[in-house]
Amino acid sequence: MPTLLIAILTLGAVGLFLAMPGGRADTRRVGWVVLAAAGAVLLALLLRLVPGADPRGLFAGFALVAVFAALRVITHGKPVYSALYFILLIFAVTGLLVLLEATFLSMALVIIYAGAILVTYVFVIMLAQQSRPAPYDVKSREPVWGCLAGFLLLILLARQIELFLVPAQRTPLPAPIAEAPGTIEAVGVPLLTEYVVAIQIIGLLLLAALVGAIAIARRRPTTRAESEGDE
């Protein structure tokens, strides 16, 4: 079984690599075919392993959209489209979270990611690269290493899933948290009691990052002579 999974994931990794932007159009098409094949096999495998699974549910829909959008984020040539697919991905994940009754988390995801962070991304992308990606952007994509890392991560995850799926060790799915309307409480109370130190440390880190960013980005007042000398 692990061999089969590893084979499928390797296939997926190869397909993804082929589908990465920068290659020739037909190579990329081949990559997509490979990816689709790997996905189909994986789906079939999962369906066989989990007898009661219903692939027609909302979960499957959201999950498929999420996977597709995630792939497009990294395979699309234009940064703006990548960002838009990212937003689509976030919506799919939001759907998944809503299915898990984690409404607060889902809304927070939309507000923070789609509403703020990605708008900033789009903003920056629009400002930065009007015609085509800069050479350093193209270079830094490093499709080989990216695919390899993702592939390793997926192997580890699959290993876990496989362990989880072995019937002897199967544990019942954790039930949704009892009082559904209290999800805000369910998130908020632990944040301010159990994890309060962690939260503070994270806050501190973010503050440090913010200050650092400002320090880097600050325009230093230069005299004219200096600025001319720089050029």
Binding site: V110, I111, G115, A116, V119, V122, F123, M126, L127, A180
Partner: protein
């Protein structure tokens, strides 16, 4: 040179009796049809899900036609404030102007310039309209209702489409999405004016989401819930609208809502005088109309939200309260709610024709240097009140607000410049001749 038949039709349509008669006839017809079809949809009214769907359908139609009417309304107000009549040619009092406008939009040539990013160009107006319409899902239009044929012990039905437990967080989330329509329109148009419009919209919306969120948080602290229907019910039960508790929070939300809807004086993304048409420069026909509709739909959502949060939603003193869940009470509540929303829309329009547009640095300064600090201070004060358990105490809240106002006045008096000063980092210009 005009066709005499057209002229005759115009004259006929301009008679009030014709317009109102036709309106009444249509209303009667619809009512009669509804009454006749009552057995068909009676079961649908009884379950929450199907009832929500019906509310959804009805409100969608209502709001889309309301946006069209809003445009007439806006032009009328523009005319009135400028000592004009506004549109008064099509139909009595110009009432058929939306029909004419709609026809014009539909019949105009739909131009897609060759240089645009086509998928995004097509997507943008759809996004703009859809994001604005999404918000209506959680507006508690008329409280709760229990139909006469339902057993008295059955739980009453909610007139909300969806009673999310995250409440107005959802509104905040979908509101933040409306920026994409504008930004993508600006990007896809491949036109510098559109592009500037898009950039401005992005920066503006991100900036004004903060004060909006802070204002909403104040309400959250006061009411202890995110669900709009509960917030309204609280206000209705106590008879104290949140505006009385936190006028400054209301002001924050109002200003931010104006900015989020790209309304004047925050309409920089489409500033005609500077950017031709801003993000919709390249759009024509129905796609242009969709931006238009989106803007007005956004305005209606914002008004509905403000009414629910600060003005007691469907509540009005002396009218049926939350305990009255009969169908006629529902209609009264709906009417009250819609009236309040209409008043707010009128306020938005009045503001548009009163205030000049901000400059962009002023816009940013207002958000980051005024509204956000005020919001934070107000939030802290409300948190303190909540901690003391006085969050719904009118006098304590008002005192806190007044205190804040006094501090603001004092700092304004101390500061050497108005809130929206000219840019200081511009170099000093020596006007004297060099010789």
């Amino acid at each position: 040179m005009t066709d005499p038949t057209i002229k005759r039709i115009e004259t006929v349509l301009r008679k009030p009796a014709v317009i109102f008669g036709a309106g009444a006839a249509i209303l009667l017809l619809v009512t009669a049809l509804l009454a006749l079809a009552f057995p068909l949809y009676k079961p649908l009214l009884s379950s929450q899900f199907s009832f929500s769907m019906i509310v959804l359908a009805v409100m969608l139609v209502l709001i889309l036609s309301a946006t069209a009417l809003c445009i007439l309304f806006e032009r009328k107000i523009a005319g009135f404030t400028q000592d004009r009549y506004g549109p008064n040619r099509v139909g009595f009092w110009g009432l058929l102007q939306p029909v004419a406008d709609g026809l014009k939009f539909l019949l105009k040539e739909d131009i897609i310039p060759r240089h645009v990013d086509k998928p995004l160009f097509l997507l943008a107006p759809a996004l703009a309209l859809a994001a604005s319409l999404l918000g209506f899902a959680i507006i508690p239009w008329a409280g709760q209702v229990r139909w006469p044929w339902m057993p008295p012990d059955a739980p009453p039905l909610s007139t909300q489409v969806a009673n999310l437990n995250v409440g107005f967080l959802y509104l905040l989330a979908v509101g933040s999405l409306s920026v994409y329509g504008v930004v993508l329109a600006g990007y896809a148009s491949n036109n510098k004016y559109a592009f500037y419009g898009g950039m401005r919209a992005a920066a503006q919306m991100i900036s004004y989401e903060l004060p909006l969120g802070l204002g909403l948080l104040v309400v959250l602290l006061v009411s202890g819930t995110l669900q709009l229907d509960q917030i309204v019910q609280q206000q209705a039960a106590t008879g104290v609208w949140n505006i009385f508790l936190h006028p400054i929070a209301f002001f924050l939300v109002l200003v931010s809502a104006l900015a989020e809807a790209n309304r004047a004086p925050f309409d920089l993304p489409e500033a005609e005088q500077e950017l031709v048409g801003g993000y919709h420069t390249e759009y024509s026909a129905m796609k242009f109309a969709m931006f238009f509709l989106g803007e007005y739909a956004h305005m209606i959502t914002s008004s509905a939200l403000i009414v629910a949060l600060f003005f007691g939603g469907w509540h009005f003193w002396g009218l049926p309260g939350p305990e009255n869940v009969t169908w006629w009470a529902m209609l009264i509540k709906l009417a009250v709610y819609l009236t309040k929303v209409a008043l707010f829309i009128a306020l938005f329009m009045l503001v548009r024709w009163t205030l000049p547009r901000f400059r962009f640095d002023q816009l940013m300064r207002v958000a980051w240097q005024s509204l956000v600090p005020i919001g934070v201070a107000l939030l802290a004060a409300t948190a303190a009140l909540t901690y003391l358990g006085w969050q719904r105490n009118v006098w304590a809240s008002l005192a806190a607000n007044l205190l804040l106002l006094a501090v603001l006045l004092r700092s304004a008096a101390r500061s050497k410049r108005p809130v929206t000063a000219r840019q200081e980092d511009l170099p000093e210009i020596d006007v004297r001749p060099t010789t």
